[in-house]
Symmetry: C2
Subunit: 403 residues, 2 copies
């Protein structure tokens, strides 16, 4: 599969290829697919007017996409509905490619298959404590789940075309090696030989996939935003002009290690007074007088909702620390919005007041707004599956030629 | 003039236009110009092989560029130099367009004209204290300097095609309005009606132009780096994949207002313990026991070089604060390098040890390297002029059609 266009890592983007007839045709095929996926069913004329090409040019592109099984023709429109020769509406194929997304969480594994229209067509989830488990058994279990989901999709007439895996850690620019996932205990682990699904594989950080899900599926989300998420650690992903900023080594977004209090407690990263020392799960549980353990973010939300004063005080403190770290991030990046996603979205009611007080005060009221994700903890898994779907929409011919 | 391609602000980039024959031709003309400007003189065959088009395609593009006065044909190569029909080497025209750059500094005004080969062809500089002066007289003076530089360029047979102005402040996305320049005392000042040079005008922050100069002219600078500069305040500019990250409102890069010590002294920005409170010019002078005033960064460098202990201690403290702020920035952005530019490059010998100690310690040795700019205080002015030149190279036909 050709690399999706949102991936700007060196050597993975086709944006700098010389302009040739062939490259132009591939990009125009992509424009047709995106238009029909986002706004279909559409007539050829409506596609032409949306993407600014002639109707004749669109017709030859559409024929190729129908032949490749990516578009369906819904049959002639009813006579009398419009003036002129009746057109035939186009829709993305319901029996075409699906993208498979998977997530390795600290306390769960999940897999889903999403079709070109963005609908989840098959799904599998397992609660399982993965902290400290070695990669082999975890990925054996995940491979079996991927196979089941792919079998379900194939039985429904669809073709899985790629697998994207979200992990809670830093991923190398090879998009397959987990460099560090401290909360799993993995280091320098190449997932490719351990995930034998027969599909092209892309591995990425869960915060990145969460941000992409927000961009593609969120309501009213701008094209420039900072997405902050947490499972055990605190991560962020910056989206600029609708693309992820990944950093030179793919390690951008380590919001959890911004120094909040320069002389504060030591952090395993080597720093002192990092945000995670004040707003990470372990720090918040400790401040609330609770023991660390699996699934404790849910407990925090329940207790806070029930009015537990110690928990609310701990979340206020975490909100203050988030506000200080985000002051730095907002000054540096000037995003249009900050979006709290993942587990943070459940805790937002108790984090937001102190967070906003800090951010507004420290920026003289000039900071952008802070909003809460509507996708919640499903973001990374959906973002992973949709990244494969976007790969098809971005280069339909490349994918159908490979498939 | 068409917006240069490094400008990704909404509505200014042509990258999302549908692919048409016309758009393809414009981009290929640009590829030819860039190849010849960077590597010329080149034969048509060498251009073709560099940009991956056929020699026939390159020849028709070259003819158009010669007709537009952008390329010169140097005459047939000497026989015997190579096998086959002698080609004729191409070079960018020495009598073609020039870009005019200008800088409004706190203590100086400067203007220069740069040709398509990147050479400075005319120049004017004036030391003048601009702090607290109203925009009208400052820009009247600058306009006269621009006119003189343009007259010089025209007398030498060249055509000024655009003016870019670097200012020490935040600039709106309209690229003409200075929103805030605290060290000049300007607010919401539209420069367009005050700079009547007859040339298309672009205004930008001096840190942004400094970073672009580093990208285009620096030696061994990667395509992903964080450029930190200081005149009176401390600014930064992030370059990603060879493009500036400007932020949603154009205000990205406010490194000076990252909180370094959350409960530290109040800052005029509304925050507390901002980097500028520890490493800004006024803070460093005060820590060294010196009075604030114009041109004091030079004094700091002299005293530090002479071994003044109070000055060296003050610069060590500033380096520590820079190291803490950069720890946050590096965790968030993962640049390939940090480059100290502008006035900071002169102070680097005394800032770097404590800065690197902090940055290395707080990132467990995983941070990128810190290097010092070779351009020094000339960066922003050169970056401004070169941004106009890049605009010509990026869209030669648009410019010659407008000119």
């Amino acid at each position: 599969m050709t690399a999706p266009l949102h991936d700007k890592r060196p050597g993975t983007s086709g944006a700098r290829l010389p302009d040739t007839q062939h490259g132009m045709r591939r990009r125009n095929l992509s424009r047709v697919m995106h238009a029909v996926a986002a706004h279909g069913p559409l007539s050829r004329a409506a596609v032409a007017s949306r993407i600014g090409l002639t109707r004749a040019a669109v017709s030859t592109l559409v024929e190729e996409l129908i032949r490749s099984g990516l578009l369906d023709e819904l049959g002639p429109e009813r006579p009398g509905r419009r003036v002129g020769r009746p057109g035939s509406a186009l829709a993305v194929s319901a029996r075409g490619p699906v993208g498979v997304g998977a997530e390795v969480g600290v306390d769960h594994l999940a897999v889903c298959a999403v079709d070109l229209r963005g609908e989840v067509r098959a799904r599998a989830v397992r609660r399982v404590g993965n902290r400290g488990r070695s990669p082999e058994p975890v990925l054996r279990e995940l491979t079996a789940m991927v196979q089941r989901v792919c079998d379900d999709a194939r039985r429904a007439g669809m073709s899985p075309v790629g697998l994207a895996v979200a992990v809670p850690g830093l991923v190398a620019t090879d998009t397959r090696t987990v460099v560090r996932a401290p909360n799993l205990g993995w280091r320098d682990t190449d997932l490719e030989p351990l995930l034998l699904s027969g599909l092209p594989l892309t591995v990425d950080n869960e915060a990145n996939f969460g941000a992409l899900a927000e961009l593609w599926l969120g309501k009213g989300i701008p094209e420039d935003f900072l997405h902050v998420s947490a499972e055990i650690g605190i991560g962020a992903a910056l989206v600029v002009d609708g693309r992820l900023l990944r950093g030179a080594r793919g390690f951008a977004g380590e919001l959890g290690h911004i120094p909040v209090r320069a002389e504060g407690p030591s952090c395993p990263c080597g720093g002192r007074g990092c945000l995670e020392q004040y707003a990470g799960e372990v720090a918040v549980l400790r401040a609330a007088g609770l023991e660390p353990g699996e699934g404790r973010l849910g407990l925090l939300a329940e207790r806070a909702a029930a009015g537990d004063k110690a928990v609310r005080r701990a979340l206020r403190g975490a909100g203050t620390a988030l506000g200080i770290a985000l002051t730095g991030a907002v000054n540096l990046l000037d995003p249009e919005a900050v979006v709290l996603g993942g587990a943070l979205s459940r805790l937002a009611p108790w984090l937001l007041p102190s967070l906003e007080l800090e951010l507004t005060g420290r920026t003289g009221g000039r900071a952008c707004g802070v909003t809460v994700s509507g996708l919640g903890p499903d973001g990374p898994l959906l973002g992973a599956a949709h990244s494969v779907v976007r790969g098809v929409l971005d280069d339909p011919v490349g994918v159908s030629a490979a498939g």
